[in-house]
């Protein structure tokens, strides 16, 4: 098979490199925090599954002229430089104009209105020194953020239902989609899995079993009040059990697809590669449309460096690449070469 190469240069969509003000940091689990940044241009433009590339302070590497003693002191407080930016899905956005009919998030919605308008949330899982340093910033810090980047989910046709499947922090790529779907009154299911209830990427509370077809869940189970208030049918799973479905989130989506409710559902998934591979397999088995939001080590985010490619199977059967910052992060599950990664 003759290998093909990258897709054509990108569509013209404007990207901003905003100096964003950190508004608040909220711990979500032992290794993840939500961070809210005020960045009006990015907040206004971001769509579901898009991401931002965040420069971990301190900004400068070389010789700098400091305008003031305060500026110099501020630079000393953050000792370690990080060369490349870190990518994060745009988790939620809060915009200035709630009357805008295309605005998928209303600042007055069920999130408690903690973050002011023109804000985006990101979910930061502390996996390395860069994310740890970022998560330790205090409100008031200015951070340079590049975005919005990448492709967005294609919505299901009106009247169709959507099944959102998240492995852990993968939910961050799906929440904007959930909100948009609820706004359009499209039936939305959310299946979110984690290793344990404590590691859920979203705030949880005790609620009722979401749906008769999920009789494996206890009658009184842990769920997400916020999502339920939006109108989402929520089922959580944890490998370690607890008052949720005990097992993998892929088992949940399989049960769903087998049930009557799963008929004609469009699947949207984000999470670890092995999870997505299984979701893609199930989608194929049940002939369900399926889009996935992928991740790979990220370079520029602008489409110029070719670091973030994923193998896809082209229409003629040859192997090609798509850049997760341009053609992705959302790809059709049927085109991804799932055999590519271990």
């Amino acid at each position: 098979m003759k290998p093909m190469t990258i897709s054509d240069p990108p569509r013209h969509m404007q990207i901003f490199d905003e100096l964003a003000r950190l508004i608040a940091v909220r711990p979500v689990s032992h290794d993840a925090v939500e961070m809210g940044f005020r960045c009006p241009k990015i907040a206004a433009a971001a769509r579901a599954a898009q991401f931002v590339n965040v420069l971990v302070p301190p900004e400068g590497f070389g010789y700098r002229i400091f305008e003031s003693e305060e500026e110099w002191l501020a630079a000393q407080r953050l000792p370690r430089p990080f060369l490349v930016r870190r990518p994060f899905s745009v988790y939620r956005t809060y915009r200035t104009d709630p009357t805008d009919p295309t605005d998928p998030t209303d600042p007055a919605d069920g999130t408690g209105g903690e973050w002011p308008p023109d804000t985006i949330d990101i979910l930061v899982r502390m996996v390395g020194p860069g994310t740890r340093q970022l998560a330790r910033l205090s409100p008031g810090a200015d951070v340079r953020i590049l975005g919005p980047l990448g492709s967005s989910f294609e919505l299901p046709p009106p009247g169709a239902s959507a099944a959102l499947v998240a492995g852990g922090c993968g939910w961050a790529s799906l929440e904007l989609l959930a909100r948009e779907l609820c706004r359009r009154a499209q039936r939305t299911y959310a299946f979110i899995g984690a290793k344990s209830v404590e590691e859920m990427p979203i705030p949880t509370a005790l609620g009722k079993r979401p749906h008769p077809f999920l009789e494996d869940l206890p009658e009184a189970c842990v769920t997400s009040r916020e999502l339920e208030e939006l109108g989402v049918i929520v089922a959580l799973s944890a490998e370690q059990g607890g008052r949720v479905y005990g097992g993998l989130v892929t088992d949940l989506i399989e049960k769903f697809l087998k049930s009557d409710h799963g008929r004609n559902a469009h699947i949207y998934a984000c999470g670890p590669w092995v999870m997505l591979r299984r979701v893609a397999e199930l989608a194929r088995d049940f002939d369900a449309p399926c889009q996935v939001a992928l991740e790979e080590r990220m370079g520029c985010g602008l489409g110029v460096c070719n670091s973030c490619v994923v193998e896809v199977i082209l229409p003629d059967g040859a192997i090609g690449h798509k850049r997760l910052c341009q053609e992705g992060p959302v790809l059709d599950a049927y085109e991804v070469n799932w055999a590519a990664r271990r």
Binding site: I6, D17, R80, C300, L302, V304, S307, A340
Partner: protein, 321 residues
């Protein structure tokens, strides 16, 4: 002195550049992506070098292709020259750059000597391409994978082949993974290079101590970023006497992140400088970088950047120059 009076224009290998800032190959895409970035008009750059093009399409290396290293000061990359091949680039990508506000320079790569002139000729057909940069950091498959650029004879052969194929300026891009870069530079100059660009990346390794595997899929890659600046600077300094004697300008770089870094390369002998990894990190800061360079010159009462090329004065050196 006022910053506005500082003249950053540069004469480089028969090209007139509005400023000495060049966007390096492999970090600048196909010449139009930066236009999407608010605050980075393409006329920020004096010139922009396109991604390396080969005769046939190349898919490149498996991922992960990059890893941050050196305490956050370096990046190892092993992209693998991914590109759609010269036919597609010449037919589809290059024509889109007609009227580009910056000077576009093509970059050619190959596995055999013969491939280089074939690619160069095709690219140079377009008026959009103002010069050809020759990427000699490629393995010569006919010589057991030895990099062309590590052997003066091989380097000279490739440059000579490109020289015969095009009439536009030919820039030889040197690899620093050599003992005597001066000899490589000399060979390229004798083969007809109009200019030299240096350095490409330094061969490097990063290891995951838990899995005991390299941190990039291709095992080895090239190191770039602030970590290499002192090394690249030394290479420019080594090449300058050779280049100067032949009146061949240097496009120098490696780890530049601010105006002061750029000035270091100019003082070491570069007529123009490039940024690469910096673009991955903060392309939008290029206007700031130029502003810093202007401010430095103004501060020192210097009116023209061209006056400072090679003005490093070593201790123990007799006299100026």
């Amino acid at each position: 002195m006022s910053e506005a009076k500082v003249d950053l224009s540069v004469d480089f290998a028969r090209l007139k550049l509005r400023n000495p800032l060049v966007a390096a190959s492999g970090t600048s895409g196909w010449g139009e992506e930066f236009a999407r970035l608010d605050g980075l008009p393409l006329d920020t750059f004096g010139a922009l070098v396109l991604k390396s093009v080969t005769l046939e399409p190349r898919l490149g290396n498996p991922t992960p292709r990059i890893v941050e290293t050196a305490g956050g000061a370096g990046l190892i990359n092993s992209i693998g020259l991914e590109n759609p091949g010269v036919a597609k680039v010449a037919q589809e990508y290059v024509p889109r750059l007609a009227g580009s506000p910056t000077v576009i320079i093509g970059n050619v790569a190959g596995s055999t000597v013969e491939e280089y002139p074939a690619v160069a000729r095709k690219l140079a057909e377009s008026d959009v391409i103002r010069a050809i940069e020759v990427n000699i950091s490629c393995p010569n498959v006919k010589q057991g994978g030895l990099l062309f650029g590590t052997d003066p004879r091989a380097a000279g052969e490739v440059v000579a082949a490109v020289r015969r194929a095009v009439s536009k300026p030919v820039i030889a891009k040197l690899t620093p993974n050599v003992t005597d870069i001066g000899a490589i530079a000399q060979a390229c100059i004798e083969a007809g290079a109009d200019a030299l660009s240096l350095t490409n990346t330094f061969r490097a390794l990063a290891i995951d101590v838990r899995t005991r595997r390299p941190l990039i899929a291709h095992n080895y890659g090239g190191l770039s970023g602030p970590a290499i600046k002192p090394l690249a600077l030394m290479k420019v300094h080594e090449v300058y006497p050779v280049a100067r004697r032949a009146k061949v300008p240097i496009l120098g770089g490696g780890g530049i992140t601010c105006g002061s870094d750029a000035l270091e390369f100019i003082l070491a002998g570069a007529t123009a400088f490039f940024v690469g990894t910096f673009l991955l990190r903060e392309a939008s800061a290029c206007p700031r970088l130029l502003g810093e360079l202007r401010a430095l010159l103004a501060d020192q009462g210097e009116k023209r950047i061209g006056d400072l090329v090679g003005k490093l004065k070593l201790f123990g050196e007799a006299g100026a120059d």
